[in-house]
Structure formats: C-alpha cells, structure tokens
C-alpha cells in the first residue's frame, strides 16, 4: 500500500519532481484541472503547489458536490425545513452552506428549532425514519456517481421495507455531461484533466476516454496519496508538452476499465437521467439523476411538490467562476477578509472539499 509522503519533506519524491521540471514549459504555463473535492483537499494538504514549477498551474473544477449545488436549491431546502413534521437528514458538509441570504443555513435553522440531522450514510437517515414514524424524514441526496449507488440501495430498501415516512431529495449529478459543458464553455482554458478516482471506481476509467478522443485533452485517473498526485502531474505534464493526449489510469489498485458493474446496474434500476442545475455551469441537459417513476413514493420532489427556484447567486461571491476554473480563490475580493471558514459567504469556503476552504487552510 502506498504511504502518504509530505512534499514539504521531500524524500524519494525528488526524482519525480525533477522529471516534472524537465517537462514543464520554460515559457507560458500549462493548466491542469482536478474535478474532485478530495483531490482539491489532497493537493492542498500535500503542499504540492508549493514545490511544482510556477509554469504548472493546478486548478479546481466542479468536483465538490456541495459547491455545485445551486443557491436556489439551498433556499428550497431551507423552506422545506420549516414544515413542522419534517426532519432533514444530510451529509454534514451541506449544513453550513448558505442559501441566497447570507448566514441562512440548515445549521442556523436548527438553532432556531428546525429538525436537522447530520448523517454519514443514507442508511442512517432511513433508520431514523423507522425509529420515528411520527416524522417525515427527507434525505438530501447530493454527490456524483460515487454516492449514487448507495443512495439507490437506500431507496430500494425503503421500498422493500415499506417505510412510508422517508424520501430522498435527489440532487445527484453526473460527471460527464458537466465536463462536456465546461469544455464547451467560451472561457474554458485547461490543458489536461486529473480525473476523479472514486467516480471512476464506479463508472470505469474508460468513461473518461472521450477527453482525449473527442477533445484532444490528456486525462489521468488518479488516486489520492501524495505519490499518486505526483505521478499524475508528471504523466499529464508529459502528455501536454509532447502534445500526445491519451487516457491513463494511474489508480489501478482500485479502478477497473469498466468500473463496478453491480453498482452501475443499481443506479440504472433506481434512477434515470434528468436535466440539472449547477452553480457556475447553469442548466445542463441529462446532467442529473432523477428517481424513477416506480419509486416516486420515495421521491421528495414529488412528495412535497417541490420546484427549483430560478438561478440565484450569493452577492459578491465568486464561487461560480471558481467552479469553472476561471478564477482562483485568492482572486475573489472577499477571500480571507469578509469570507473565512468561520464566517463563510459561499459554499467553496464552507465545504471541507471546497477550493476556497483548501486555499485558506493551506495556501496562504
């Protein structure tokens, strides 16, 4: 098993770094984007940015599930939490994300009496519903292909156990349509992608082959240890400099070319594709998961007749540009002054995987 090594105390990483320097361009810069919140955090924690040549720029893309959930969805969830018998169960990261009004979050609503529960897994939310038949438990299903199969299991189990006071507000998103939308957006300027290892564990690494094949962009599916990150940056830098785009799976100890077929089948049984709204990227066709008709009894959208309010942004917050890699956290005028982890303005500063939180904690 690979071990964490800290680039601030370089040991055998030195050789790899030397090779990266050889391939790094002497003029101009190359831009590598990671699209997974865990990569954002792992890169920040390892100190990787401080040891890479300045001509290699690492950017964060739309990979933090909390950050890409639009402010309008948070407003809708906050209204739902006002219903007296409703208990909102959510992954902890979402609790401090504000809606479009500054400081208005589930955490604050809880202080004011709303029933809000932080859970580690959707199964915990289902269990809470079984223990509290007097409550309507709504689980906030956010995330990408990695969380989709577990959420599917949970919905199937609620159906087979006949738990009627439980539903899922499905906000799950699909990686690939969003990546295409990002690449096709007018201000896109990225030379290669560090692809999310745990999404790929489900979808398979081959699902990223369209990046080199259709867009000529090098893509490396990578793990999260320091050695993985270095290997990925080296491979990407080499492909970008040599102009030889390809797909490389660096994370072979977990990711198979075809992914996890049982998980993919579960996703297909419970969800279908639907349009979805992303913070920063807007409305993208087929980029979300919707609960299939046969499970509509467990679909919170149906149960509570919910509709997503039109696009809203938090005034002054640059998360929308940061999610697209157009701005870096330090380029937001509120970064570190008005907006800090203790008093966050936008989701990128709230989430443990957000680009602003990572930059605040490690890069300053």
């Amino acid at each position: 098993m690979l071990c964490e090594q800290d680039f601030k105390n370089p040991g055998n990483a030195a050789g790899t770094l030397e090779k990266i320097r050889q391939y790094a361009p002497s003029s101009g810069e190359i831009r590598i984007m990671e699209i997974c919140g865990t990569h954002t955090m792992a890169i920040a924690r390892s100190g990787l940015k401080t040891v890479l040549p300045p001509s290699i720029r690492l950017l964060s893309g739309p990979g933090c599930p909390v950050c890409v959930t639009p402010a309008g969805a948070m407003d809708m969830i906050l209204s739902l939490s006002e219903k007296p018998d409703v208990l909102i169960a959510s992954y902890g990261d979402l609790l401090r994300v504000p809606g479009s009004r500054r400081g208005d979050s589930l955490m604050n609503r809880r202080g004011a009496g709303a029933k809000v529960l932080s859970v580690y897994s959707p199964m915990e939310a289902l269990q809470t519903a079984r223990e509290h038949p007097e409550l309507e438990v709504v689980f906030l299903g956010v995330g990408f292909e990695t969380t989709a199969p577990g959420t599917a299991v949970c919905i199937r189990e609620a159906a087979s156990l006949g738990v009627t006071n439980f539903s899922v507000l499905c906000l799950l998103k699909k990686t690939f349509p969003a990546l295409r939308a990002l690449i096709e957006s007018p201000d896109f300027a990225v030379d290669g992608f560090l692809c999310p290892g745990h999404v790929a564990a489900i979808t398979g690494s081959d699902a990223f082959a369209f990046l080199p094949e259709e867009y000529g962009l090098p893509a490396v599916v990578g793990g999260f240890e320091a050695a993985d990150l270095l290997g990925c940056v080296l491979e990407l830098t080499r492909m970008i400099t040599r102009k030889s785009p390809a797909l490389v799976n660096e994370y072979t100890r977990l990711v198979r070319p075809q992914g996890n077929p049982a998980a993919k089948e579960l996703i297909g049984q419970v969800f279908c594709s639907a349009p979805s709204d992303w913070r920063g990227l807007g409305h993208i066709e087929e980029s979300g998961f919707r609960i299939r008709e046969e499970y509509r009894q467990w679909d919170a959208w149906e149960k509570f007749h919910l509709t997503l309010p039109g696009s809203r942004e938090i005034p002054g917050c640059s998360c929308a540009q940061i999610i697209r890699g157009v701005l870096s956290p330090g380029e937001c005028p509120l970064f570190g002054s008005t907006c800090t982890p203790e008093n966050p303005v936008g989701p990128c500063m709230v989430s443990g995987e957000g680009a602003c939180a990572a930059a605040y904690q490690y890069d300053r």
Binding site: T147, G150, H198, D228, L234, E250, N260
Partner: protein, 72 residues
C-alpha cells in the same frame, strides 16, 4: 462528505460487513461488491464499500508509479 477510506473486512452478515481501519471498526454496506470475503480490502465511501482492492493490485500500482517515474 467525499472522504473515502480503505478498510479491511472482518466479518460479513448479509449485505453488511464489519470493517476495520487503524483500530476503528465500522459497519459498512457491501451491496455492490461481488464475492466480498473476510480479509478483503475495500474502499469505503459514505457507508458503502465502492470497490474491492487487492494487495496484488496495490503492489502492481506501486510498480506502475515507479515505472512512470523511471520511464519518463
């Protein structure tokens, strides 16, 4: 929320496994892991094992990383 952790399966009861990592024991669902057995390593994410890892693959992966470093 996306934090994933490699854990070792200790015991299995239906679709639920008791898993261990660094002295921490946790109950993990293994619904979409085919042929999971005690002793297997799995990557755990939000209460679910998302995929199996083998020590052999981990070793090969390490070799691949070295290869990347040496071949370039």
């Amino acid at each position: 929320m996306c934090l994933a952790m490699p854990m070792k399966i200790k015991t299995i009861d239906g679709k639920t496994a008791s898993c261990d990592a660094g002295g921490l024991t946790q109950s993990v669902r293994i619904d979409f892991i085919e042929d999971a057995l005690p002793g297997d390593y799995v990557m755990v994410h939000a209460g679910f094992a998302i995929e199996k890892m083998s020590e052999k693959e981990a070793k090969e992966n390490l070799e691949l990383l070295e290869e990347i470093q040496n071949a370039l």
